[in-house]
Subunit: 200 residues, 2 copies
């Protein structure tokens, strides 16, 4: 059996994908032309159409590439025995994904057809925030059973608060251009730990 599955990397294809994402983030999807992508990737326009058929095909490939990072959202390893440290690790995994994943999700909204393609992909793979929420929720349920966090709250809600925080933290600077009003991550987690601590 060969070591690499599928096409042998001649470089061109990957360079195109990378260049596309770069242009997407810098110029915005409305300014993304196959011409500029070709220049940045160091290939001709013809190559782009050879590999991806058409512009939507190129974008679809880039989108699915970035969005596949969402599969990691369920299975973040438990980092330590400390709750806060573990929750922080979960949050970091989500934040890492959102940094580039959000750009793609937002870009897709610029075109109704791309919107549909992305949604189909997400739904088809069952990708979405609920995966992160479920993963953290499972961990928190264990902690609750162990009596480490208060018992009068649905762990899913706590989990949702953590995911929402990560989402807000990632999305706000992108959409509003500033981070005003968002508490530091430390302040957030400190408050959260206080809120979910067992009540006497």
């Amino acid at each position: 059996m060969k070591k690499t599955r599928g096409r042998p990397p001649s470089g061109g294809r990957e360079e195109i994908l990378k260049a596309t994402l770069d242009v997407l983030r810098e110029r915005g999807i409305a300014r993304l032309t196959t011409r500029e992508v070709a220049e940045r990737a160091g290939v001709s326009e013809g190559s782009i159409f050879y590999h991806f058929v058409d512009r939507p095909g190129l974008l679809k490939a880039v989108f699915e590439n970035s969005l596949d990072g969402m599969k990691n959202l369920t299975s973040a390893a438990y980092a330590s025995n400390d709750i806060r440290t573990t929750l922080n690790t979960f949050a970091k995994v989500i934040a890492d994904f959102l940094d580039s994943g959000l750009d793609v999700l937002i870009a897709a909204q610029a075109d109704a057809e791309l919107r549909g393609v992305v949604v189909d992909f997400l739904v088809g793979n069952d990708y979405g925030p609920h995966r992160g929420i479920a993963g953290i929720g499972h961990y928190l349920a264990e902690q609750q059973a162990a009596g480490v966090i208060r018992s009068d709250i649905d762990p899913k809600i706590i989990s949702y608060l953590i995911v929402s925080d990560a989402f807000q933290r990632a999305a706000q600077p992108k959409l509003f251009g500033q981070r005003k009003g968002v508490p530091g991550q430390d302040a957030f987690f400190t408050a959260l730990m206080t809120l979910i601590a067992p009540v006497d």
Copy 2:
């Protein structure tokens, strides 16, 4: 003194703005052409350029129009004596804005230049989530002083949780196409009330 300030409404201008927002939300900004806007508004393309100079000018006008709804985020009236009811009212004001405001903020990301225009507008008017957070935070601080909510938490954090929830609730269906994982608003507020209740 005349009753109406500024230009007498001949209708055309407003129709164009409305049609533009409609096309923006339906087709996406990348598919928004002056041609289709003109058709929908029932005017000629020439009229669009007469009123808004160029395409970016048209979009800028639409953006600022929608984003100005953000000024209401600070001053939501206190609805009742009940905390939960009042917080729900705050949340509703934010949700109402986000429903259309988010579409505009997201659309602007499709073009680096528009991105800049919008950010300048937001920063220049000090618009952003922090306004909602500050408004609710002020109310919560009063409640805390009155002993109705626990005293060991910064009210700003609670306020941030509420705004984040509203944001997640509005953004997720737009970006992911589904609402999976988001708890119902009632469940969220019920949990929140439990979390912020005074501890013995």
